[in-house]
């Protein structure tokens, strides 16, 4: 049983590494896109406002007095959650849609392993490896800005993002499995594409959550995104252990809950799909 699971993990890891090489240009573009967002949010307002006003407003949003350099660093770290959400949700969902709905390699997968193992491995391996690839730019950036302390910050950020990515992977697996196996939607990717902006705009990230309408917050608060954004904010300014530990506790609860639900759900789904 364990060897079977290990084989799927190895197969998915191999595929992900090959795809990383094949789609390197897309990874580079995503790094540029993330940098573009993080700089735009601070620098665009400066085109019509005084630099001091923009920084002081950003400081009041974060809750700590910042200078321009630290404000940009906070923005860079906060924006790192954007590609993680976009990639994890889209790719985990699209793999399930493609393999069981369009390319129809589902029977092949069911011959080699159980659906439960496949869905769980897909949720964990794809999210984790893609997050590593999509946030790789943070290591040189943080090392350049914070020198050796930057490595420690990177490790904390990466750990927080990895846990968030896994929860997002499981969350997406549930949604994508429901769409694939229980509905007859002809363009399921439309729903998957809608989830990242829903989660991100519901989480606030750069803005206080009370500004966000309740309907959007509902989508966001069942994911770790609003909680991880607090950690990213704090880590950029000072290493606050209580904030990190609070996040880790919430993330572990979310991860365990999603793992439990996905395991039970995929076991039942397996019976239905095989029949």
């Amino acid at each position: 049983m364990i060897i079977g699971l290990l084989n799927i993990v190895l197969a998915l890891t191999y595929r992900e590494l090959v795809w990383f090489r094949r789609f390197l240009a897309d990874y580079v573009v995503s790094w540029v896109f993330t940098a573009f967002i993080s700089l735009s949010i601070i620098l665009i307002p400066m085109s019509i406002s005084d630099v001091g006003v923009v920084i002081s407003r950003f400081s009041s949003l974060v809750g700590v007095e910042l200078d321009l350099g630290t404000a940009l660093l906070v923005s860079v770290l906060l924006s790192s959650i954007v590609p993680v959400v976009a990639v994890c949700v889209n790719d985990v969902a699209h793999t399930i849609f493609a393999e069981f709905k369009f390319i129809d390699v589902g029977p092949l997968i069911l011959e080699s392993t159980t659906l439960k193992y496949y869905l769980l491995a897909n949720a964990f391996v794809r999210s984790s490896l893609m997050t590593l690839g999509i946030t790789a730019y943070l290591l040189p950036v943080l090392t350049y800005v914070l020198s050796s302390y930057g490595i420690l910050v990177f490790l904390i950020v990466e750990l927080s993002l990895q846990i968030s990515a896994m929860v997002l992977g499981l969350y997406t697996t549930l949604v994508a499995s429901l769409i694939t196996f229980y509905t007859n939607v002809s363009r399921p990717w439309v729903i998957a594409n809608l989830l990242p902006p829903l989660i991100l705009s519901g989480s606030g990230i750069y803005i206080p959550t009370y500004v966000v309408p309740l309907i959007l917050r509902v989508f966001a608060y069942v994911t770790p995104v609003p909680y991880v954004s607090k950690v990213l904010q704090v880590v950029a300014i000072c290493l606050s252990l209580p904030e990190v530990l609070t996040f880790l506790t919430i993330a572990t609860i979310l991860l365990t809950s999603y793992l439990l639900v996905t395991t039970v759900f995929s076991t039942r789904l397996e019976f239905r799909v095989r029949r």
């Binding site: 573009v29 594409n193 309408p213």
Partner: protein
Amino acid sequence: MKVLTKVFKLMYIGTYIARIHLSSYIAWLVNSVLWFIFIFTPVMMLSEDVVKAFQTFVPGLLVMSCGGVAISATVEFLRWNVNQGITDTFRENGLNVFAYLLTGVHIDVLVHGVLSYTLLALGLSNYLNIGLPEVLPKNPVLFTIAIIALIPTYLLIGSITAYVYTVSRVSSAWMLIAQMLIAVGTVIPPNILTSSYLFLVNPLTIVAELARASYGQNVFELNTLLQLSIIALPLYVVVAYFISIKSDEYISRRGLEYRF
């Protein structure tokens, strides 16, 4: 008259193609509005004057969004239609890349321009408590001119994209970089450099300035802007037509590699 009939026929076909993809259009619309709200709410909140920020950045965003769609629609067209041989059918009937761009331009400008702008404006005004009089353009005529001006600009951006994608081996991922670059002059107003005229390198700048002028937030002087538009916009159509012919000649002679 014959040319106009041809244009309307192409737009009629485009309307029916769009009807087939209605669900994708609706999803794309909601999707882009949510992304813009996520990125632009903090931009507005960090600005000194929220109303001025809305009237400066959001009209620019409308234009940037249409330019971005021109780029992605062209790459999609080349990738899928060349691969499926549909461009050959187009060519056999005397139609080139320009004709394809014409089929979708009115839908893209309406959906990604006007509709997404309206939804975004309503969303942001709700988020930031901006009153309706500030959200609506002060000069609707100028705003309408900006929307109409989007059509030739869409054609030019699309044909330039088609040419670059055809004659070079750039992947479509790099087209996303181009979509980010067109923010300069549109979302980012042309006042950050000493010479604003440098921003005219981006063909979308004139249209963005027209849209901003409808709110009274233009950087270029209004008379200069209108004179520039009268010269530039017809020129955009002519240049777009000839660039499209060039990329079509290239496809018919050498084909096009199917690539992402």
